[in-house]
């Protein structure tokens, strides 16, 4: 586990901060708190670029998740986190505890979690009907996917928070480094948000939740290194208990209503060490803890184990002195272990006791604000040597397919685009009776939940395209934000904030840091252009095994607000006009078409023009709000052809369309399958055409009327070149229904 402990210079730094050599316990506190996972030591300087505040944000510096105002006295709290390393070592528990951890980040702030989403990446799983025994890696990848999905389902279903949407893709680069990113959003009354802050000298520090065991000891430092021999790391994966989490959620909601809760934080990465020192740091106080009072699962646990165990479902509270019995009554009601383990002090130290014996004393600042931050001079950044080569694409050598229809069917049946029913039917996406648009409802570009007792709907989406980021990390980062915002615009929502989950390789490699730096810059620029703040985030480095790293894969979770029922993607009524808003360029680089049909992942990532993208989203939102639209669906992976096919497939009546388009000299397959950005397919009643035209002209947007909805075929006649796409909707459905099941 190279990189897991401190470097020699970091050891010197510890000694100079303490003015002496640390003892063994103190040393482990530094190892945990200075790990990449806790300190973001490689990424902090870059993350400063991201705008954290916007029109809707509520200031919440350094909190567990970002807070946005959704009106009527309510706020939404959301965040996305990775659980990649644990999920590779033990996929069920790794994924389950990922869900548990992100839920705690939300309810630790006093917010009721109302929806979960996830974004998953695996190596190729092969075709379900092929002889997989011949491909042991594909069998392994499928096992990982099945167990990760089961883990998410097992935890999320039990705690009763619906999993309303998600995203999954497959590529060789994820074979030894699968990505499991989980997103959660919760809601709270604005005046009941709880901070993770300790204050009030003499106030008791209370431990609530599962007893501390030896599971997950050293998890934070494990996640901060490349994976080696996996069996050796298995003990670092925690075991989740959703039944305890469910009771913890209920109890925490009751803690908030006592009015005596000063601060609360879950014991996540680096366990009790990070919870206590971060709470003290935020409050500008010290904390003293008696480790002999920590509830434990087994005899003989050492102070080090108690401090860095990552046992799940544990919270640390600071409450008003004298109110302890209110909290012990709630814990008794929910049968949750609870202990008063320490108190707030004014000496700015983390002091640890074992009964009457003082066993550690470390300045809070040394563990937190004085953790090393590495700038670019320490972490060199340079593009990979292959970068220029990757962008070369000899289009002449790409043979046009004999049939556009067959190519479309191949794409629809591919694991990257096929129906996700096998996954989402394992998730309870309805519990809570707030899911207005979930995976089993009509297809839409984002999931939508309503907020009871208000007129507010929240739209949520997760997006990220590793292929674009590989080819052009800056552009890929920007596109991830643009596409998420476009998805929200298509359902009619205005983005109010995003959370980023940045998955990268080994930051000790200059190529990784170059990718990271460019990606973050691209995301930051997009945030500014769309005026969307990044309210929370997570960085996962070391997604690299045996020197093979993943594609740079930033995932964007974005939340939007709307006050009217959402617009969906499917064709609705025969005779409706089909309109393509936005311009199609000769751009085939990085497309799923090139990957699936021509087995190439290269070329230039699609261009992104912020001006047109902003105008497009504004126009689509306005058209939706004015009631002009019957449907809206953005063009993304698979281009125009796949987008139109999806509009047919999500039509209740399996409606086709009869369409004609001028390719303006662009090759037929590139026109159909290229992934030019800033495009949306909308349908509307002819009656509304003039109003839509006025909107387009006001924004200076180009649009083309392609034809009308109707019939049982999708027909797209190409003029200006030659050829046509013509398929019965039933054939599209057969291909799409292939699914991901075994």
């Amino acid at each position: 586990m190279a990189g897991a402990k401190l470097t020699p210079s970091e050891c010197q730094q510890v000694a100079s901060l303490l003015g002496r050599e640390p003892n063994a316990l103190e040393f482990e506190l530094f190892v945990a708190m200075w790990s990449e996972h806790c300190s973001y030591k490689s990424s902090k300087v870059y993350l400063k670029q991201l705008p954290h505040e916007g029109q809707w944000t509520v200031p919440s510096k350094g909190e567990n998740a970002g807070v946005v105002d959704i009106g009527d006295g309510w706020v939404a709290v959301f965040k996305m986190e990775s659980h990649n390393h644990p999920s590779f070592i033990e996929p069920y528990q790794g994924a389950a505890t990922g869900v548990g951890g992100i839920l705690r980040d939300i309810f630790t702030m006093g917010a009721q979690p109302i929806a979960l989403l996830n974004s998953l990446r695996f190596g190729p799983i092969g075709d379900s009907d092929s002889k997989r025994a011949a491909y042991p890696l594909e069998t392994r990848n499928r096992y990982l996917m099945e167990r990760v999905v089961a883990g998410i389902a097992g935890y999320g279903n039990c705690v009763g928070v619906p999993t309303v949407g998600g995203d999954i893709a497959f590529d060789d680069c994820y074979t030894r480094n699968p990505l499991v990113n989980v997103f959660c959003i919760g809601i709270a009354r604005a005046n009941q948000i709880v901070t993770g802050k300790a204050s009030g000298v003499g106030n008791p520090v209370i431990y609530v939740g599962s007893k501390t065991g030896r599971d997950g000891v050293g998890g934070a430092s494990m996640a901060s290194a490349e994976l080696g021999q996996k069996d050796k790391d298995r003990h670092t994966v925690q075991v989740g208990d959703p039944f305890t989490e469910k009771r913890l959620i209920e109890a925490c909601m009751e803690f908030v209503s006592t009015g005596c809760l000063v601060g609360m934080q879950d014991m996540g990465a680096a366990g009790l060490t990070s919870a206590s020192s971060e709470m003290a740091a935020r409050g500008g106080v010290g904390i003293t803890l008696d480790l002999s009072r920590v509830p434990v699962r087994e005899e003989g646990m050492t102070p080090i184990e108690k401090m860095i165990s990552e046992s799940q479902e544990r919270m640390l509270l600071v409450v008003d002195k004298g109110s302890e019995s209110l909290f012990s009554n709630i814990c008794e009601k929910w049968d949750l272990p609870m202990a008063i383990i320490g108190e707030v002090t004014d000496d700015l130290m983390l002091s640890l006791w074992d009964n009457r014996q003082k066993i550690a004393a470390v300045p809070i600042a040394a563990l937190t604000s004085e953790a090393p931050v590495y700038d670019t001079t320490q972490r060199p950044a340079a593009p990979p040597r292959y970068q220029d080569h990757l962008q070369i694409l000899h289009t002449d050598a790409i043979v046009e397919p004999k049939s556009y229809g067959d190519a479309l069917l191949t794409l629809l049946a591919s694991n990257d685009l096929t129906c996700r029913q096998w996954i989402y039917e394992q998730y309870d996406w309805m519990v809570g009776t707030n899911t207005v648009l979930g995976p089993g409802h009509a297809t839409a570009d984002a999931a939508v939940v309503r907020v009871k007792d208000t007129d507010v709907f929240l739209a949520v989406t997760v997006d990220g395209n590793g292929r674009y980021c590989l080819l052009n990390p800056y552009q890929g980062g920007s596109i991830a934000v643009a596409e998420a915002a476009r998805n929200l615009a298509c359902v009619g929502a205005t983005p109010i904030g995003l959370t980023d989950c940045l998955n990268f390789g080994n930051p000790e490699h200059k190529e990784t840091m170059w990718q990271f730096s460019a990606c973050v810059s691209g995301i930051a620029e997009a945030c500014r252009q769309f005026d969307i703040p990044a309210v929370s985030g997570n960085v996962s480095f070391y997604n690299e095994t045996h020197g093979l790293g993943i594609y740079p894969t930033p995932m964007i979770g974005m939340v939007g607000i709307l006050k009217t029922p959402p617009i969906t993607a499917g064709f609705k009524t025969p005779g409706d006009l089909v309109i393509l808003i936005g311009e199609t360029y000769d751009e085939i680089g990085g497309s799923i078409y090139l990957k699936m049909i021509h087995h190439q992942e290269r070329g230039e990532a699609p261009n992104l023009n912020f001006k047109w993208e902003v105008a497009l989203q504004k126009a689509v939102r306005t058209a939706g709000a004015q009631g002009l639209l019957q449907s809206a669906h953005d063009c993304s992976e698979g281009g125009l052809a796949v987008t139109l096919a999806e509009c047919c497939l999500s039509s209740n009546a399996s409606l086709g369309a009869d369409l004609t388009v001028d390719t303006k000299g662009i090759r037929g397959d590139f026109f159909l399958f290229g992934e030019s950005q800033s495009r949306v397919i909308v349908t509307l009643n002819t009656y509304h055409l003039p109003a839509l035209q006025r909107l387009m002209e006001a924004e200076g947007l180009s649009y083309r009327i392609l034809g009308t909805v109707g019939g049982d075929h999708l027909t797209l006649q190409l003029t200006g070149g030659d050829g046509a796409l013509r398929l019965p909707v039933s054939a599209l459905r057969t291909a799409y229904k292939k699914g991901l099941g075994p």
Partner: protein, 243 residues
């Protein structure tokens, strides 16, 4: 009866540790104009109620077997007495599992044949006149979601023929057209059984979730008929009820 209409009925929803559809049931009850109270599982008596709901969820984390531990909760004795005295009891999903475990309904709910949790909207048809089904047209397919891992209803042949003879099979899974085809059976349940009642017809257990399709905004409002049926039967017509 007139005076009771304005109150909309008194509904109790039991909360076990791990219940997670309790608030969803409260919401539907309140939309029907009922006064709804949450009943903590450690209670030993019930208030005066027209309808008691055991909601869905994972009581006690489904440890051992779904519903197997909840049956020992202190409140269960009072629920058995309430049922014996003719009180209306509705068990949804985990609530059905608990009713079976405690013996108020016969049979067992085994793991789905797929061995996976299944959440999807399918079709059921009401097949028996009960106080819970009077607002449904018997035999007509009703869209309703399921969300469970252990919903595979099993009972022995003797009990099955008794259930049939007494018309205790209340809901069966069917196709969109109402046919009993194997593709319509999501979990392997004996005889397509989705819900059954006791012989006295005042205790109903069902795996599908009517509370999730009680509002057009969520994709369907057929489910509300179940709640309005039983409340109107007790003399209360909910504001969204109607016959």
């Amino acid at each position: 009866m007139e005076s009771k209409v304005s109150t909309g009925g008194r509904v109790g929803v039991v909360v076990f540790p791990g219940s997670n559809c309790d608030k969803d049931c409260v919401y539907v009850g309140q939309r029907l104009g009922a006064s709804v109270s949450l009943i903590w599982h450690k209670e030993t008596t019930l208030p005066d109620l027209d309808l008691l709901i055991l909601p869905g969820g994972f009581s006690y984390g489904d440890f051992l077997r779904a519903g197997a531990i909840a049956r020992f909760s202190p409140i269960m004795q009072a629920i058995v007495r309430f049922a014996a005295s003719g009180g209306y009891v509705l068990g949804i999903c985990n609530g059905f599992q608990i009713l079976v475990e405690v013996g108020l309904l016969p049979g067992a709910l085994m793991p789905n044949t797929s061995l996976q949790f299944i959440c999807k909207t399918l079709f059921i048809r009401a097949e028996a006149q009960t106080p819970f089904t009077s607002h449904f047209n018997l035999g007509t397919p009703i869209p309703m979601p399921i969300a469970h891992a252990q919903g595979n209803y099993y009972t022995d042949d003797a009990t099955l023929s008794r259930l049939r003879k007494n018309r205790q099979i209340v809901f069966r899974y069917c196709t969109k057209e109402g046919a009993l085809e194997s593709s319509a059976n999501p979990n392997g349940s004996t005889d397509f059984i989705a819900g059954i009642c006791n012989k006295d017809r005042n205790v109903l257990g069902m795996m599908p979730h009517p509370e999730r399709v009680s509002e057009a905004l969520l994709g369907g409002e057929e489910g509300i008929k179940l709640f309005s049926s039983v409340l109107s039967h007790t003399g209360h017509v909910g504001t969204h009820g109607g016959r």
